[in-house]
Subunit: 212 residues, 2 copies
DNA sequence: ACCTGAACACCGTTCAAGT
DNA sequence: ACCTGAACACCGTTCAAGT
């Protein structure tokens, strides 16, 4: 009962391995070793490494769905999309290079796509067309993906090369002039505040164009 | 004179190889073969493969800068950011997996960052603070990155598996119910129209929050 | 200064063979 | 049904040696 590996165990272990070792350390052999089997054993459960990556992405999206479902239903599309954006970012941030690795990968689970239905129902009831609802979700998703890719890259670069993102170092690197760019760089904040501010801009655009 | 390889020749050939063979085909040996040398020769010009990828990303961003500089200066931030978004998307689309491969990679060229200065000068002259200008560029960049990642993934999936994105196939895959999700899927357009519509939403948000 | 040949440690994947 | 041992073709990278 407790022995033998399953698809789910493999995917879970793969996500842990990604977080521990990074994308380059996510090798079939290392994953097998973590599961106490030899590499070829994995091929009984998974067609190839690409399928494993797809499964990992689907699992992450399942967690997004679950985390989102656990949130109180909001008063309208604005609340709903705010919660969705925060949950999506949080799940991406949970994994090393999460946004880059898991964005745009095909969802192998219909339920993850079907979760949009209750949202669409509520939003269309309050005046949006289905096409509007679709645009709204996709614009917010695109923004979150792009934001977190940049965010994780910056965070990672700060670890490997701490001087890189120090204000003084950046100014020197930029050379003479570019005073406004430097000033903006000094003011630039990181993390949640910045995310909320940028998300607010995107949602304001949805309100302006689709009504709300 | 005509013999011997240079950093620039390597980067150019690497971009071509990426487009021809995809990211998995972009190997040091294949690249060397394309340049008529053996693999170790590249290590005289480039520290390692990661540095090559950084150089490729920088080159793409240089082309974004150049293409953007060739555009007529707009009447204000709205025109400027529209042109920037279109140019960024166009350069990403030019390369296989361009958005995924080149987004979030560190820019090794100060000039590419310094190009923001004239924009910031004009925008602050019309009322934005430097921090606003920075937010605006970053929100638009995040949106474009996320949009094109999804766009290229969809395009690629459509090539390998044409049934995947057909309406009927998708409906069957989704199963019973989810009628609004299906309806939205049927209406969903691709490409430029969709990009312009979504970009318009983001810019409307900037206008609403930062003034315009 | 610039490039090659040979080698190293390591990949993803296949497959006959084991239980 | 599920896993292993051995093997294959291929990686990125190093380095002594060539010119």
């Amino acid at each position: 009962m407790t022995k033998g590996i399953t698809r789910e165990l493999i995917v879970t272990a793969a996500l842990e391995l990604l977080d521990d070792q990074g994308i380059d350390g996510l090798t079939v052999r290392a994953l097998a070793s973590r599961l106490d089997v030899r590499a070829p054993a994995l091929y009984w459960h998974v067609r190839n490494k690409q399928e494993l990556l797809d499964e990992m992405a689907t699992e992450v999206m399942r967690r997004v769905t679950a985390a989102f479902a656990a949130v109180q239903p909001g008063a309208g599309w604005h609340d709903d999309l705010t919660a969705y954006a925060r949950v999506l970012r949080a799940e991406y941030l949970r994994h090393r290079d999460g946004a880059r690795v898991f964005s745009g990968t095909r969802i192998t689970e219909p339920d993850v796509v079907r979760m949009k239905e209750p949202l669409f129902e509520r939003w269309t009831a309050s005046g949006w067309k289905p096409a509007d609802a679709d645009d709204a979700v996709d614009v917010v998703t695109a923004f979150v993906v792009g934001f977190v890719i940049e965010e994780q890259e910056r965070r990672q670069a700060a670890e490997t090369d701490p001087t890189r993102y120090s204000a003084a170092q950046r100014d020197a690197w930029l050379g003479e002039g570019a005073s406004l760019v430097k000033e903006a760089g000094h003011l630039q904040d990181d993390g949640d505040q910045r995310f909320e501010r940028h998300l607010d801009i995107v949602l304001a655009g949805l309100a302006a164009r689709l009504g709300g």
